[in-house]
């Protein structure tokens, strides 16, 4: 019987390397997506709260101008 054990080990090593590669790729991709999603949700929530704030309180520009009294101290 020929000694072909080294080739068998190489074959299984390549298989394990590829499978590990898939798992690492999936884990890293999931981690990046999760981080990106959290950042975007934070930004989205900030934008929404700003919108809500501007909707409830009138903008500074829209406030009626105070009529200055001629005798008012400067």
């Amino acid at each position: 019987m020929p000694d072909t054990t080294n080739y068998m080990i190489l074959g299984y090593a390549v298989t394990i390397a590829i499978l590990t590669g898939i798992v690492v790729y999936l884990v890293l991709k999931a981690r990046n997506l999760r981080a990106e999603l959290q950042t975007l949700e934070m930004l989205d929530a900030e934008d929404k709260s700003k919108e809500a704030e501007s909707a409830t309180s009138p903008a500074r520009e829209t406030l009626p101008k105070q009529v200055e009294h001629p005798n008012m101290p400067a």
Partner: protein
């Protein structure tokens, strides 16, 4: 803090996916143990013949993933729902590395047995390489079509047509006589009574290859499911990014 789409999956489905992941890990470990310690050593080839259990099983897993691409493609063309396109991408992304295992282990097995890593005259080897390139091109070409609706439609059609190569790879050794590749299951055109170079009647071989094939199919389904969830999250990220940038 919200975790968005990641929380939208039902706890039941997540629990099932977790159980499937554990079952896959156990079955893969079992398949590896059977291949290395239980299956009989081939008297002619020696230990390298144990590559057979990975070589064939990985193809089973890859072909399963590519079959899912076909189903997803048909479903997309019928419904035009983007979720089917996401499933198709997930299945190709998982199927491709699995058939890469088949391709590379085949080369490693060929070296001591055929005295060559690769022979360009062999129809099985060539068709396998063409199949690999077709699915690699699927992923590359998707990026070339900018219009999303057109991209999904083209990808669906491509995914369905590319499966012809999988069928051809499976059957080519059953009708071509000019191949070095043995037929393990079923009659060979070279010798009608032969069933490969090693007997499939060996119960240890049958058990090991059966467990291996089931384990790799489970692996394909589990990885596809994880990859699909990721693709759904990526889609949610794309929508959210567009909303944030437009504000």
């Amino acid at each position: 803090m919200e975790t968005g789409v990641l929380d939208r999956y039902s706890p039941g489905r997540t629990r099932f996916l977790n159980m499937l992941t554990v079952a896959t890990a156990i079955s893969m470990a079992l398949a590896l143990g059977l291949a290395l310690f239980y299956a009989s050593t081939d008297q002619v080839q020696g230990d390298v013949q144990r590559i057979f259990y990975v070589h064939v099983s990985a193809f089973t897993g890859g072909a399963t993933a590519f079959f899912v691409t076909v189903i997803a493609g048909i479903a997309y063309l019928r419904t035009r729902a983007p979720k089917w396109d996401r499933l198709a991408v997930a299945s190709v992304e998982i199927g491709l590395p699995l058939v890469t295992v088949t391709l590379l282990t085949g080369m490693i097995w060929a070296k001591p047995i055929w005295n060559t890593w690769w022979t360009s005259d062999d129809p099985r080897l060539n068709s396998m390489a063409v199949m690999w390139l077709l699915y690699a091109a699927y992923l590359t070409l998707r990026g070339a079509v900018e219009n999303p609706e057109r991209r999904m439609r083209y990808a669906a059609i491509y995914g369905i047509l590319a499966f012809v190569s999988v069928i051809y790879v499976f059957f080519v050794i059953r009708f071509r006589t000019d191949t070095l590749h043995p037929v393990v299951f079923g009659p060979s055109p070279v010798e009608s009574t032969a069933k490969g170079t090693f007997g499939v009647k060996d119960p240890r071989l049958v058990l090991t290859i059966s467990v291996g094939s089931i384990a790799w199919m489970l692996l394909a389904f589990t990885l596809m499911w994880h990859r699909l969830r990721m693709e759904n999250t990526a889609e949610h990220v794309r929508v959210l990014k567009a909303r944030v940038l437009s504000q």
